[in-house]
Chain length 354, copies 2
């Protein structure tokens, strides 16, 4: 795996310490909130299923972005805790439905929920967590008052509209068997499907609770796009070359699933027409009709045409743009722990190896 020139090890410890601190606070909030027991055995079983994905190891990027931005704008991050927890609930219901829609097998090192309990129950568990997200946001009134709680709700509504549209674009590519995609197609999909819920909204809601101005809040859209896309590209790279034990999904699972990543789009546009046809033939077939050798042959072509390296470079470039933008736009903010941690955090996530 390529490394950037920068060595982050001195700050890496600070980031991981911060992440685990936030994660335990947010987990406490979530597990205090989600129901755990019910006298009706079937409802009790539903509650256990609702706890499944939230209990699986996650890095907690989204809550960390939210809490840090709140702090960077001078707010008390504790006031953002329900909102940060809502971001985790969002992530969990989205993943449950996304895993069904993509026919995925593993999530965070364990079988996907629909692999364990079937599609009907998994859809309903996703819906149950989706409802719990709005319930958690409703509880924000107690901390933030009506007006601010409503503002946060409207941010989640905006984000929801983005994420279902991004998801539909990607599902349309599968449904239409479409492979003639360029980088712009990828960026449009990735910003809507991933960047909004992974970075734009987490940053915006944190900043709003922290007391940022409307101009400052608006400035977070571009920043969040860059970080979110960089993050997703790195995720797709790790899917191809990561370590299954640390990454938690099957390696090259995206090739098995036929996922249109930046790496794949680069390959199809860079290789010969004959190779492109061969790649598409393999990618387009259902998972269980692909051999390991075929998946491996796509991976080899990605290496031959430097598609993985290209994606890593794009991801690094986006990270540099985001860092520069953050330093420029928010030069007036106090140069304290939150700003430093934010920069370290985004480097950590884009340069992570799992």
């Amino acid at each position: 795996m390529q490394k950037t020139g920068q060595d982050l090890s001195p700050t890496k410890h600070l980031v991981t310490t911060y992440l685990s601190e936030i994660k335990s606070k947010v987990d406490a909030c979530i597990f205090d909130f989600l129901p755990t027991t019910h006298q009706h055995p079937d409802v009790h079983q539903l509650y256990q299923m609702m706890l499944d994905y939230p209990r699986r190891a996650a890095k907690g990027l989204r809550p960390a972005l939210c809490m840090l931005l709140c702090e960077a704008f001078g707010g008390d991050p504790q006031r953002a805790i329900n909102t940060a927890a809502s971001l985790e609930l969002l992530q969990n219901w989205l993943l449950i439905h996304d895993d069904i829609e993509d026919g995925s097998e593993l999530r965070r090192g364990e079988p996907c929920l629909h692999q364990k309990h079937g599609i009907p129950m998994a859809i309903n568990v996703g819906d149950a967590l989706h409802c719990k997200m709005w319930e958690m946001l409703h509880r924000n009134t107690e901390i933030l008052g009506h007006e601010l709680a409503f503002r946060i709700l409207s941010e989640f509504i905006q984000l929801s509209n983005q994420v279902v549209e991004g998801q539909h674009i990607e599902l349309s590519w599968v449904s239409d068997n479409r492979w003639n995609l360029d980088e712009d197609d990828y960026l449009t999909m990735c910003i809507q499907k991933t960047a909004w819920y992974t970075c734009i909204t987490p940053c915006r809601v944190g900043a709003i609770i922290g007391g940022a101005s409307e101009a400052e809040i608006d400035g977070l859209v571009e920043l969040g796009k860059e970080i979110g896309v960089a993050f997703q590209i790195q995720d797709d790279v790790l899917n191809l070359i990561g370590d299954v034990g640390r990454y938690g999904k099957e390696i090259a699972g995206d090739i098995s699933e036929g996922k249109r990543t930046l790496v794949l789009i680069h390959l199809i546009n860079a290789c010969t027409a004959a190779e492109a046809q061969q790649v598409i033939d393999i990618m387009a077939r259902p998972r269980d009709e692909k051999t390991e050798e075929e998946v491996e042959s796509v991976l080899q072509l990605m290496q031959k045409y430097n598609s993985i390296t290209y994606a890593q470079q794009r991801s690094q470039a986006l990270l540099r743009e985001a860092s520069g933008r953050f330093n420029n736009n928010f030069a007036h903010l106090h140069d304290g722990r939150a700003k430093q941690l934010f920069l370290s955090l985004i480097h950590f996530f884009v340069e992570r190896e799992y």
Copy 2:
């Protein structure tokens, strides 16, 4: 089909006129709200799919209950329009997901959404409408102010928790291949899965906007349970003996789907052990492994053991209880159009033939 002693024809016209008046107001609100066009062709396609179920003919029971209760408590029903529209959006996303979970084929006379576009897209369209429901409820602030809009949100949260639990109970029966059910099992499931979103919450939110007291609002839970269960039993009866052109689903589709209705539960408990085993053998098999003759044989046993008649009688008894409860509990309300229409409406829905 059995008729009750009461002849409702003089008031039936009033009810259908009122329903179509409310439906056109609520439809105007929904179609003004849902997005229709987008320059990205895939997002445009998503918008069309989101409009599919809302455009199909529906009777509009839920918005009517909401608007009538608002009026009965002396409120301006126009203030309840967004809330009524949210109830329709709720119904639509629930149906999309429910149809996938049950493996249904027809909905309101057309193929189910997942039959037209596949399960992945249909899950996402359901999620998109689900998000739109909360967006519509968020817009309530403009009409109702923050505090009342938040109260309505909390009613929808309570309802959502009920409906996913009821849905899970029913899915558990399928997953566990469970058939030794009694009427109490059915009632628990039906109240959570159907009565809450069909009657309890529509009545409660209408009453809240109309200015009802907390005691009056609480009194609507029992009333809504009775009406909601009566309504569902009648729906299950129509599934067995209705006219496909008017009913909009396949006749005896519930037998094909293996659905645990009150009719079926009565039959299994009333017939001989050998017949029960025969019925369960047929019901438990997947839809495509059942012959028409087998479905017909279950239907004949339901007739032989008067299971359909029994269900109709239970439904009628619940309706009588609900009418009596309404008259007793709300005797102090002005005896105007809204109270009369409410009573006519619940009779109409429980005695409907489509």
